[in-house]
């Protein structure tokens, strides 16, 4: 046995298994294909068993995990497709192109099932905001996402950014895409019909990412980034725009039997997946693949990760029509092979067969590993060093200003203004107008989308932290009046071969599963990114959750800002404020607690439904959930969004003043509206009406006096917070 397989990331045992499957040693082409398809990134070796815990059935679900994207029914013959995916490692290496190609990749997953991409969201994590590397990465990543999304004409309607030390050496760049399709246009990737043709469309194939994404995403980044550098892929949104329009036209014309994007592991993975799902074989002739560089070897062609390519199966008589339409869109297209009835993936180079493997060996036979979980010795506080202390005041007004201006809570305007959030004319709620993005659908109704995940809280308590992520995402939807239809997630974790990371992963997936069950929301798909570690340790365990919901009337979509002076302000929901693990605790440099307070899923669900109904019925003027920074920051955000002050009676807090003002936890909402409407809500959930909208300052009167901050001062702190980071 040689050692090439080890350099390619395969263990000796895995290599032996490959030889057994083939009944001989693999040749170079075959080994290259196996090494990629059996990588963590493609084979989910350490996560597949866990993912089976997630609930994947729901009444409205149309496509679930296993397809390029999940999809839910939104009535009227329409479906919404969506998925979130990570591009962490490529973005750490080259942030602009890494983020751009991350967007390009998730867009392809959406149109691969026949949906037109209608929205992008991004979820980003960087090291502390005062780190030069974070600033550089933030600047380039946001520019890269904007470059791709803006140029291709898909609005970026939402997202989130957090700055925490553990991401310093391993940033997270997750992108979510949402698509819309008439139900009959949906298509699967399963190849079918022996004799049918395999057509490769889009960019020509170069040496991009040879050994790229797959290998990159399956090993820890270390000092030797250099050696991984030649594999940087460049995104070309202009190419993808034509490819997208062309694919949708081919689908509308009924010309495609199946469709699949090319992503990690390029042709190898796409062809193997299509064959596996269809229970057929495929012949691929690398001689017919349009190349960007001469003299590429067959193995390079098979694993190249050149962007902006799609693979489809068509019936032979359709070829001429397909090629003509491709030409009209200036999309390269070439028939590169055919469907066969043997269950083998055969690679040819003209007449010569240069690779021949059973499809099932590539796709199904990669060994799956059991995790060996154990909680970190000494708890989260030992695993993660406490953040640096940046705030020492106990004065409520100073704390409030520090929080609203802190990197994690400051206005995201300097970032989201770099994204086109309105193209395609559906955007009813843009960033900063409401807790979730709202898109009106042609034919009536609307959808709401949010993406959330607070790694610090998951680090404190993987199970409850992951549940909180789901509830927070659902709360954002409730605030615009939307009901969740389906959930996608991206599991960003460290090295799962380490017991404490395995434990984080296992507990977090259990938390996701239980929260989804509590809300009856199916998981329609997702992505897993492991080995996110730098020299100083693992990232915070970061499950990122994206939920799509629906609301009947876009005109009634909720807003977060106070906007009617004289409205009553109420705090509602089964919220239990607690400071450990909060943003304030972070500013104070406190260590992470071991565990978060227990939560009551049924009560949380009740609150979500009550808020949703209140928003939908038009009974309230504004709705906003209390998340980072707790209740006081939530109220401040309502003031900022509406440009109005408020007077809040906060008597009776006593010793617990700071905890009640700034403590965090799920299930709390700030609503404004007519007093009677808010009182009426009390039949369904806990409601405390304790204030009124008006004036130009936010005033909390408490037992020891008053906290008074003018909206202008809040705004200066809030607007300036990120400006310092991005140098805007």
């Amino acid at each position: 046995m040689g050692s090439a397989h080890r350099e390619l990331g395969l263990t000796d045992a895995e290599y032996r298994l490959i030889c057994e499957q083939l009944e001989r040693d693999p040749n170079r082409v075959e080994l290259a294909m196996f090494s990629l398809l059996w990588s963590e990134h493609c084979a989910y070796k350490h996560s597949r068993k866990l993912l089976r815990l997630l609930p994947t059935h729901g009444e409205r679900m149309v496509m679930g995990p296993g397809e390029n994207a999940g999809a839910v029914d939104v009535g009227g013959g329409r479906v919404i497709a969506f998925k979130v995916e990570s591009h962490n490692h490529p973005s750490a290496v080259e942030p602009f192109q890494g983020a751009a190609t991350g967007v390009g990749g998730i867009l392809r997953d959406i149109f691969a099932i026949g949906a037109r991409p209608i929205a992008i969201l991004d979820s980003l994590r960087f090291g502390e905001a005062d780190s030069p590397r974070s600033r550089y990465l933030l600047d380039r990543v946001v520019a890269g996402i904007g470059h791709y999304g803006n140029s291709i004409g898909v609005p970026t309607v939402g997202g989130e950014v957090f700055f925490e030390g553990p991401y310093e050496q391993n940033c997270l760049v997750n992108a979510m895409c949402v698509g819309l399709a008439p139900r009959e246009r949906l298509i699967r990737s399963a190849a079918a019909g022996p004799g049918n043709l395999l057509v490769l469309m889009g960019a020509s194939t170069g040496r991009d990412g040879i050994g790229g994404a797959s290998v990159l995403a399956s090993a820890e980044l270390d000092e030797e980034d250099e050696s991984k550098r030649p594999s940087v892929q460049i995104g070309d949104p202009f190419e993808e725009k034509r490819l997208l329009e062309c694919c949708l036209e081919l689908l509308d014309a009924g010309l495609l039997v199946s469709l699949q994007d090319l992503g990690a592991a390029g042709l190898s993975s796409s062809a193997a997946e299509m064959a596996s799902k269809g229970g057929v074989g495929l012949d691929v002739d690398v001689d017919r693949v349009p190349l960007r560089e001469a003299d590429m070897e067959p193995f390079e062609i098979m694993v190249s990760e050149s962007q902006e390519r799609m693979l489809c199966v068509i019936e032979p008589p359709a070829l001429e029509d397909v090629l003509e339409r491709c030409e009209r869109w200036e999309v390269r297209a070439a028939a590169i092979g055919a469907v066969t009835d043997g269950a083998r993936l055969r690679v040819r180079c003209g007449e010569e067969v240069v690779g021949d493997v059973p499809v099932s060996a590539l796709v199904d036979d990669c060994p799956l590993y059991d995790l060996d979980p154990a909680p970190p010795a000494g708890g989260a506080g030992r695993l993660y060093p406490p953040p640096a202390r940046s705030l020492s005041s106990d004065e409520p007004a100073e704390i409030l200003l520090a929080l609203v201006g802190s990197a994690n809570l400051a206005s995201r305007r300097p970032l989201f203004e770099q994204y086109d959030s309105i193209v395609q004319s559906r955007t009813v709620r843009r960033p900063a107008q409401a807790d979730a993005a709202v898109l009106a659908l042609e034919g009536g109704g609307a959808i709401a989308i949010s993406i959330d995940g607070n790694g610090r809280r998951v680090a404190c308590d993987p199970y409850r932290g992951a549940m909180e992520a789901v509830f927070e995402c659902a709360a954002n939807l409730a605030c615009v009046g939307a009901e969740p239809l389906g959930l996608t997630n991206c599991l960003n974790f460290g090295n799962p071969e380490k017991p404490h990371i395995a434990w984080q992963l296992e507990r977090a997936v259990a938390g996701l599963a239980d929260a989804c069950r509590a809300l009856d929301v199916p998981v329609v798909g997702g992505n897993v990114s492991l080995y996110n570690e730098g020299g100083e340790g693992p990232i915070y365990p970061t499950p990122v959750v994206g939920i799509v919901g629906e609301l009947p009337d876009p005109a009634r979509a909720g807003r977060l800002g106070f906007h009617r002076p004289g409205d009553a302000v109420a705090f509602v929901g089964p919220f239990q404020a607690s400071l450990p693990g909060s943003e304030l605790a972070k500013l104070r440099g406190e260590p992470l607690p071991d565990g978060l307070p227990e939560l009551d899923p049924a009560a949380l669900r009740g609150a979500l439904e009550a808020v949703r109904d209140a928003v939908r019925s038009g009974a309230v003027t504004s709705a906003h959930d209390a998340a980072g920074g707790g209740f006081a920051v939530a109220v401040a955000e309502c003031c900022l969004a509406g440009g109005l002050g408020a007077r809040i009676d906060f008597g009776g807090a006593g010793e617990r003043l700071l905890e009640l003002l700034f403590g965090e936890g799920p299930g709390g909402f700030v609503l404004s509206g007519p007093r009677e409407s808010l009182d009426a809500l009390a039949q369904r959930i806990a409601v405390t009406v304790f204030g009124e909208v008006g004036g130009d300052a936010l005033v909390f009167s408490h037992d020891d006096g008053e906290l008074v901050v003018t909206v202008n001062r809040l705004r200066a702190a809030h607007d300036g917070g990120l400006g310092r980071v991005i140098g805007a």
Binding site: F238, Q418, Y419, S421
Partner: protein
């Protein structure tokens, strides 16, 4: 009234423009490779990233076959509206004076801005009043209008400066706060703000609708005459 909306490879806002124009008349898409303008009464060159904005925004699109026809259409007095990338294309094509340069902030910027109607006498603004303030979004990286001073003086004198960013609202460093300009004859108009994204309160504002209504009113008048 029939609006034709050009579609280049890489156009993004052509469907939005069609939707907006359909509130004022009929619409049809014009493929970049076709020379036939299908008898439209007005042409809209939409926003987006024609040819990826590669080389220079609008530089490649202006050579497409449809633009030859648009040029003749404009010379014959037909109404041509260029929005954002369309404005860049019309400048590159020489149908409008000046050029668009990278924003002083160098970043893409998507923002609702206030604009002031400077000349309400054009076919594109005749349904407005002079001095009207319109809330319309911008979204571009290359929107800083530039023309040499002597050209600007001529433009001011001929009423070619049709739209300015309201004081304090200039998002890109455009000279003299210029947001939209016309040719001397007044039948070709280009602007960086996107009126097609301001035609419905549901999505934020309906202040941009007047541009399409003006075109319709103007065309209706011409037909009646």
């Amino acid at each position: 009234m029939k609006f034709g909306v050009v579609r280049f490879p890489g156009s993004c806002d052509e469907v939005d423009a069609q939707l907006a124009a359909s509130r004022a008349g009929g619409t049809v898409l014009l493929w970049h490779g076709d020379r036939d303008l299908q008898g439209v009464d007005a042409v809209i060159v939409p926003g987006g990233f024609s040819y990826g904005d590669y080389l220079r925004a609008g530089a490649i699109a202006r050579f497409s076959p449809v633009m030859g026809s648009v040029r003749r259409f404009a010379h014959d007095g037909g109404l041509v509206l260029g929005i954002c990338n369309g404005f860049q294309v019309l400048c590159e094509a020489g149908l409008l004076p000046g050029a668009l340069l990278p924003n002083v902030g160098l970043r893409f910027l998507c923002r609702q801005v206030d604009c002031t109607v400077v000349n309400a006498g054009t076919p594109f603004t005749c349904a407005c009043g002079e001095g009207d303030r319109l809330s319309i979004p911008v979204k571009h990286t290359t929107g800083r209008f530039y023309a040499p001073d002597e050209v600007l003086e001529g433009m001011e004198a001929h009423g070619q400066i049709v739209l300015r960013y309201a004081p304090g609202c200039n998002p890109n460093g455009s000279v003299r706060d210029i947001a939209g300009v016309a040719n001397p004859e007044g039948n070709v108009f280009g602007l960086m703000p996107h009126p097609e994204h301001a035609v419905d309160l549901l999505t934020g504002s309906r202040d941009g609708l007047v541009v399409f209504q003006s075109m319709r009113d103007h065309t209706g008048g011409a037909v009646a005459a």
